[in-house]
């Protein structure tokens, strides 16, 4: 188990599923046995404004907020938001942008958040079983299959991540 705290930021625009993605992420990490904290600012989230959510995990996490310049991973659902959040990423941190997956392979744009989680999942110490269990719990029978497929597509995209200099 990783002792030090790992920092992840999920960012995008209101309505894109940022908070759904960070919710799944935090639950999967909790399921894998980590202390997890997730923080979000969502007051204006339904009005198309920027939405970000911080997820931190490790043996013990204190502050729920990722300090600027210390994010290990930045997962962005809207390409234009990459630059806005780049200052949050540490040197050598990983940026996962929407082009990390083949959007044509998704059954709809709605699954982009889960597909990008699939890309991120390769980097995280969480088993596939835990991820799928959380997805199943989150989506219920009618949309689980589409999201499972999106997640596994993202998980199979192997060389997408840009490292931040």
């Amino acid at each position: 188990m990783r002792a030090e705290v790992t920092n992840i930021i999920v960012a995008g625009l209101g309505g894109q599923g940022v908070l759904t993605a960070s919710d799944i992420l935090a639950k999967a990490l909790a399921r894998a046995g980590y202390d997890v904290k997730k923080s979000e600012i969502k007051g204006m989230s339904q009005r198309g404004g920027s939405v970000t959510s911080d997820v931190r995990f490790g043996r013990q996490v204190f502050s729920p907020m990722v300090p600027a310049g210390e994010a290990d991973y930045l997962l962005v659902l809207d390409a234009a938001q990459v630059e806005v959040h780049r200052h949050m990423v540490r040197s050598g941190g990983v940026v996962i942008a929407p082009d990390a997956v083949d959007a044509g392979r998704l059954s709809s744009r709605k699954e982009l958040n889960v597909a990008l989680l699939g890309v991120l999942s390769v980097h995280l110490p969480v088993g596939e079983g835990d991820w799928l269990a959380v997805l199943r719990e989150r989506f219920g029978p009618e949309s689980f299959e589409a999201n499972r497929a999106a997640f596994l597509h993202g998980r199979a995209c192997d060389a997408p991540a840009h490292t931040s200099g």
Binding site: V36, K38, Q46, G48, F62, S63, P64, V84
Partner: protein
């Protein structure tokens, strides 16, 4: 112990309230407090939206007079509205248990100011607990009820955005049914606050506070974390989390019960370290109290009074670093939805160069480009009074362009009183009020209110018809229009009203585009139920 769950602070408060046997939860929606009652209702608790926070607190107070455990929730500015009952409820005390949640918003993620409601605990003379994560939010609800019942006093549970909206692991207690509701006991001299009763009540309150302060000196709600004696930190709430991370080597006194303060324990702590820094978000509440008690502690530089704290800012506070902070790049600001019916209203107001007294809600976004059609936004319901004041003093040509704009939920909250003022003290050239009625409390996430005809759980309730209220107050010119693309009806009515020199209310009614589908689903369910009932 039950398995751990990942809960937001709001959800943890709701779960604790449910487990603690709260019989009634009341409140008015407001970020970041809204989810508490929604979650409490989802769990099976009885929760109600009140028209405003004052009424919510009064209903909860009545329930507590009746021997129940009652919870009332609101955002920080909501406690301003509820301040009137709060101050005197501290005198009357309660029969059962009463916990008031004040959800503060330092940094103003979604608020018009960043007032620090810890000041209310001092001003009203009520005990205050401050949790720093969801587990504490859960545990402190039980502690708050125990305090409330032991000292028969309302307790303020003060949380902030980063406690309310952060998800952390919570190990709930096993459901224990140790608590049973009390009953109503007549106590005329204790609860009827005429001066003859209120004078001894005030003395009684101060005695209770002195007792609680003594009890707080050894209270489990305050904890000390060992560390070097070089640096000591006194802190509370979310600031504790940032401080613990920023200075893992420091000795920390984390206060959970922050009014009345355990000054002897704090003094002992301060004396045990070479340097002691108070790390707190917002106002210098703790540092002022500690210095007034003669303790030698450092506070934060004034620049850190503004906005939220975080780990880097706490590092700077501890280092005494007052160099300018790097500005964060601006994200994309929110805006009125593309198909929002209010767009038509603000475009029309802009075109006519109206002077717009605005209010609190989604429609406050009408102040931003491309509309820039709002000239003031102060607090819930202020559009009416501010618009009238402008009408009274501006030269006629300007006065006749003044319009008050208020949403449906805000109108119910505190717009009605402003309308009473309008018919009682009408401006010479009349006034024009636009009620933007999208049939929901949209900004906070689509909560119901008394004019939607639906209760907190979206089930049917009596519907207050806004135009009927307006007519009943004696407003001579009342119009209900649907602002929609391709129709100039709204503009025609607006022009007619602006020219009329009468008191006019225009209700611009069209459902919020984000919940049209929910309306349709709800209607279908209602029809099915009705058919089934037949």
């Amino acid at each position: 112990m039950l398995p751990k769950q990942l809960l937001s602070g709001d959800e943890a408060i709701a779960l604790a309230a449910f487990h603690a046997g709260v019989m009634l939860g009341t409140g008015y929606p407001g970020t970041p407090s809204t989810e508490i009652l929604e979650e409490f209702a989802r769990l099976g608790g009885r929760a109600q939206w009140s028209p405003n926070e004052k009424v919510a607190l009064e209903v909860a107070l009545g329930a507590a007079f009746g021997g129940a455990r009652a919870l009332t929730t609101m955002k920080h500015v909501g406690l301003n509205v509820a301040a009137d009952p709060l101050f005197t409820a501290a005198y009357t005390g309660v029969g059962g248990g009463l916990v008031i949640v004040s959800a503060d918003d330092p940094g103003m993620a979604s608020s018009q100011n960043e007032q620090d409601n810890r000041r209310y605990a001092v001003a009203a003379g009520v005990p205050m607990l401050e949790p720093s994560d969801s587990q504490e939010a859960y545990d402190f609800v039980f502690a708050a009820f125990e305090l409330s019942e032991r000292w028969r006093i309302p307790v303020l549970l003060r949380v902030t955005t980063r406690v309310c909206h952060s998800y952390t692991l919570v190990g709930p207690r096993l459901n224990d049914s140790a608590w049973h509701p009390g009953r109503f006991e007549r106590d005329i001299s204790g609860r009827v606050m005429i001066p003859a009763n209120a004078r001894p009540a005030h003395r009684r309150l101060r005695r209770k506070l002195a007792e609680m302060q003594e009890w707080n000196e050894t209270c489990w709600l305050n904890t000390e974390l060992g560390g070097s004696s070089e640096l000591g930190i006194v802190t509370s709430g979310i600031s504790f989390m940032h401080a613990r991370e920023a200075a893992p080597e420091a000795r920390i006194l984390k206060l959970g019960f922050t009014h009345p303060l355990p000054l002897k324990r704090i003094a002992q702590f301060v004396r045990s370290v070479k340097r002691c820094v108070v790390v707190e978000e917002g106002d210098p509440y703790l540092v002022e109290a500690l210095r007034a008690a003669g303790l030698n502690v450092e506070g934060k530089a004034e620049m850190y009074r503004f906005g939220e704290l975080n780990v880097p800012r706490v590092r700077r506070i501890l280092d005494g670093d007052t160099s300018p902070e790097p500005p964060a790049p601006a994200g994309k600001p929110p805006q009125l939805c593309d198909a929002c019916p209010y767009r038509i209203v603000f475009k029309a107001l802009r075109q006519r160069d109206c002077i717009v007294a605005g209010d609190i809600g989604c429609y406050t976004l009408g102040a931003l480009p491309p509309f820039e059609a709002m000239d003031s936004c102060v607090c819930m319901g202020a559009s009416l009074g501010v618009g009238l004041g402008l009408r009274h003093v501006l030269p006629t040509e300007e006065a006749r362009r003044v319009v008050s704009v208020i949403g449906d939920s805000t109108f119910i909250h505190s717009g009605i009183s402003g309308l009473v003022e309008m018919v009682y003290n009408p401006p010479e050239d009349g006034h024009v009020v636009i009620v933007l009625d999208n049939l929901t409390t949209a900004m906070t996430g689509h909560q119901e209110h008394p004019a939607t005809g639906r209760a907190l759980d979206h089930g049917p309730a009596h519907r207050i018809v806004i135009e009927d209220v307006v007519r009943a107050l004696g407003v001579p010119s009342v119009h209900v229009v649907e602002p929609r693309a391709g129709s100039d009806q709204f503009e025609r009515v607006l022009d007619q009203c602006l020219a009329s020199r009468q008191l006019c209310v225009i209700i611009a009614r069209r459902p919020c585009v984000l919940i049209v589908k929910r309306f349709r689903d709800q209607e279908r369910r209602d029809c099915e139920q009705e058919a089934h009932a037949r």
